[in-house]
Amino acid sequence: MESITQLPGHLFTGFLTALSPVNLLFGLIGVTLGTAIGVLPGIGPALTISLLLPITYGLDPTTAFIMFGGIYYGAMYGGSTTSILVKMPGEAASVVTSLDGFEMARQGRAGAALATAAIGSFFAGTFATFMLMLLAPALVNFALSFGPPEYFALMMLALITVSGLSGDSTPRAVVATAFGLGLGVIGIDLQSGQARLTFGIPSLLSGIDVVVAAIGFFAIGEVLWAAATRAQAEDSVSNIGSTRMTREDWRRSWPAWLRGSLIGFFVGILPGAGATVATFLAYSAERRASRQPEKFGKGAIEGVAAPEAANNASAGGSMVPLLALGIPGSGTTAIMLAAFQLYGLQPGPLLFTEKSQLVWGLIASLYISNILLLALNLPLVGIWVRLLKVPQPLLYGSVLAFSTLGVYTINHNSFDLVVVWFLGVVSFFMRCYAIPIAPTILGLVLGPLLEQEFRKSMSISVGDPMIFLTRPISAIILIVATLVLISSLRTKSKRG
């Protein structure tokens, strides 16, 4: 990446590498596996790559990384499927998708939701790869300029977005958020090493996993809800509807893909933020940009398009610090970093010059993966929606089986399942009293980050809170967050 003029040449050799039959085949294996494990809850791309590592020792590193890249992108495609169809998020980054995605499925628009997720993922993945190719070294300084105060400000901004998830009642949303923040306290405090709210149970020391919480709150909660309302349930077979997007769907989706990709990519670059935060931010931005914000949470296609674009773009974004700096920005890139080291390679600025065939082969293969994934996932839409033809009692029984299995395989710990059950029961009662669940998940994701970044900042400044305002990036984000808060309180009071 010495200069822009060399780019076409590099890219050409990259495509030559990526399009060799062996690499193409492993790319195809990667995207297929990735899609499959994205659909299954619990098994994420990080775990899959670590399972495959020993098999790839004999492979050329370029081929192995082409497969890993395919798995990573593929998991982001697949993650949305079960979120939309049965409200069982396969990955933490597709929790937000289930808010509007599942509503769309209930209205017989599962096909459109899956299609906008797949095409949005394609758009975002390609966009992120393009940005990665063009700007990786320059963006490294952007990533490094984010210290604890900036992360704290960003998390505050994300927390403010809760106002976009709350429905009509502000007190209810605040209760839900506070509950989520409370759940986030559970576990070992990083700064002091002390256990908090673990009640002497060792399994709680590592805190409550977001996927575990999401499955409890959504999948188990949904089954309990169905059991408690069985007399009022309508016909058991859902309406499948069309599997295509209408012209109106396209018109509403593409701006959401664009915004979601931008947000996802830039949040993805930041090693301390993560894809889940990106999806919440993208969802909220979309709601704010929409002329009909009241439709969000009731089956708005933008509410699927934006977070699905964001999680794919964030996967691409997290490749920036990995390749250009050797720093993992997500669980998956952490295992990819380990894989680099197993091959005796060291990611970083030198990688681009010393192993240019690998880097450019990988970048080219990410473009190809996206095309393969689109070709794989669009036809799958028609098959997936047929799942909804399964009579509801059996469908829910299977959801229970797969979601508990997914949770169990994360840590091999049946106590996690007790947590899932408990959260499922809690979410049932929250739903009874119209307390929204999404803010609780957001609180759980953001709480630990907010607290840690705040305390790190205060340590750095030796107790001076002005650190949040004297640093320009943090000050700007905090001002934006304040403006967003004021404007959302205003619209609320106007409506109320």
């Binding site: 399972l51 306290v185 399994s203 309990l224 069985r230 700096l325 197993l342 299995l405």
Partner: protein
């Protein structure tokens, strides 16, 4: 043509059931598992995978070798599972290191290392102290001068609280004559995150494994000030901490342990296998690549070392008294939750009621079935429990076709079992 062969092997691994052909009696007679009590990508995981790689590539082990990750609580969660689930079955070995000693103490772990059978210490990793490339500190002495003058102004970035990085900072402070409560240590969840904080200039100085941060020094973003080893590294002019006059040496070792109930035969096999691995050229190259010191030690010498090291570590931890710095955050959240509930109750007085009429029988039954499944499936086996779960749930939700429900339940639980157990080998009960 290695590729078609590889592909074939790949397909075989994906499709085949458990590898066949156990030789009766002789150990090992089934796949070997290396348990890394950490997330994929961390130091212990990396070590486990390198051991796996050499054991396979040098053909030291005839059976397949797998790595299993059991993260959480500084490794103590993995340790607890290791001594209970693998008792009397030495086909699983635990990869661990010095950090485990501290984690056992700080997490009040019910299980300690004495319950395991120590096999061998494999390597020493030394720590390095680094500053951003544009830092005003050119030497370790300059840093220590400022540290002595105004300790809180120097923020140290490193790994988790109570871990090796933190202990090194505390040892430096003690040697410099400063009380440990004046250390401004900022814990990060990993070396990568800490590296970002140092490179970005957000903390004054960082502490991590020498080999882990060496690439950042080579790429010109960081500068090493000192290393925690006895002597300088070959080919690197970075002085040791001892050269600055502070008598601090810290080695972060990694080792392998077998579960309780390991037979002498299995122990001898493991020690022999690890020794052969250590003597192989590929292992020596790995050590060199990662700047690890070969500190192989096994048998009674290693046992003795472990006992001494455990005492030493407890002494250090007590002496430096890593003072926990409790946060008011949990109380803030608790009070916030109470206040928000009060707000809700007051502002929506009279409007709070359930939106639906609840079918309590259905709810209770469903909740009981799920809870029963969770508590029982490890005991009665996955297939049976899951089939019953799906079937009962369907009945509760109003399905009335017996035969169809039984069939579907069987198919679903069977295919779930196939995917997770046979293909992915996730170890279901």
């Amino acid at each position: 043509m290695r590729c078609p062969l590889l592909l074939f092997a790949f397909a075989l691994t994906l499709l085949s059931c458990h590898p066949t052909g156990p030789t009766p009696n002789a150990f090992p007679n089934k796949p070997i598992t290396l348990m890394a009590p950490a997330n994929p990508g961390g130091g212990w995981d990396q070590t486990a995978r390198l051991i796996q790689k050499v054991l396979i590539s040098e053909r030291i082990v005839g059976t397949p070798v797998e790595v299993a990750n059991r993260p959480g609580a500084g490794g103590t969660i993995g340790l607890a599972e290791f001594v209970t689930a693998n008792r009397n079955d030495p086909h699983t070995a635990l990869v661990l290191g010095r950090v485990m000693l501290g984690a056992i103490l700080t997490n009040h772990s019910a299980v300690s290392l004495t319950e395991t059978v120590p096999l061998a210490r494999l390597l020493n990793e030394y720590e390095a102290v680094a500053v951003p490339a544009d830092s005003k500190y050119r030497t370790f002495e300059e840093l220590i001068t400022d540290f002595r003058r105004d300790p809180e102004r120097i923020s140290w970035g490193g790994g988790s609280a109570g871990g090796t990085d933190h202990i090194l900072v505390a040892m430096i402070a003690r040697a410099a004559g400063l009380p440990s409560n004046r250390i401004n240590y900022i814990a990060h969840s990993g070396g990568g995150e800490a590296a970002v904080a140092v490179m970005g200039g957000h903390v004054s100085v960082g502490v991590s494994g020498y080999g882990e941060w060496k690439p950042y020094v080579q790429s010109g973003r960081l500068r090493f000030l000192a290393v925690s080893s006895e002597n300088r590294f070959a080919g690197d002019s970075t002085p040791t901490i001892r050269e600055s006059g502070l008598s601090v040496v810290l080695a972060n070792w990694r080792s392998v342990a077998a579960p309780p109930g390991t037979t002498d035969e299995a122990r001898a096999w493991w020690e022999g296998a690890l020794l052969r691995m250590r003597d192989s050229a590929s292992w020596q190259q790995i050590l060199k690549q990662n700047d690890w010191e070969d500190s192989f030690l096994s048998g009674t010498d290693f046992e003795k070392f472990l006992v001494e090291e455990t005492l030493r570590n407890a002494d250090t931890l007590n002496a430096i008294g890593l003072v926990p710095n409790p946060s008011r955050y949990p109380y803030t959240v608790g009070i916030g939750l109470l206040l928000s509930v009060l707000w809700l109750l007051i502002s929506e007085r009279g409007k709070i009621s359930t939106a639906i009429s609840i079918d309590w029988a259905g709810l209770g039954l469903a909740a009981a079935v799920v809870l029963g499944y969770i508590l029982l499936f490890e005991h009665i086996g996955y297939l049976l429990a899951t089939t019953v779960l799906i079937f009962l749930t369907a009945r509760i939700l109003g399905s009335s076709r017996w035969a169809r429900d039984v069939c579907v339940s069987l198919i679903i639980s069977g295919s779930a079992y196939f995917v997770f157990e046979v293909v992915l080998k996730k170890g279901l009960p």
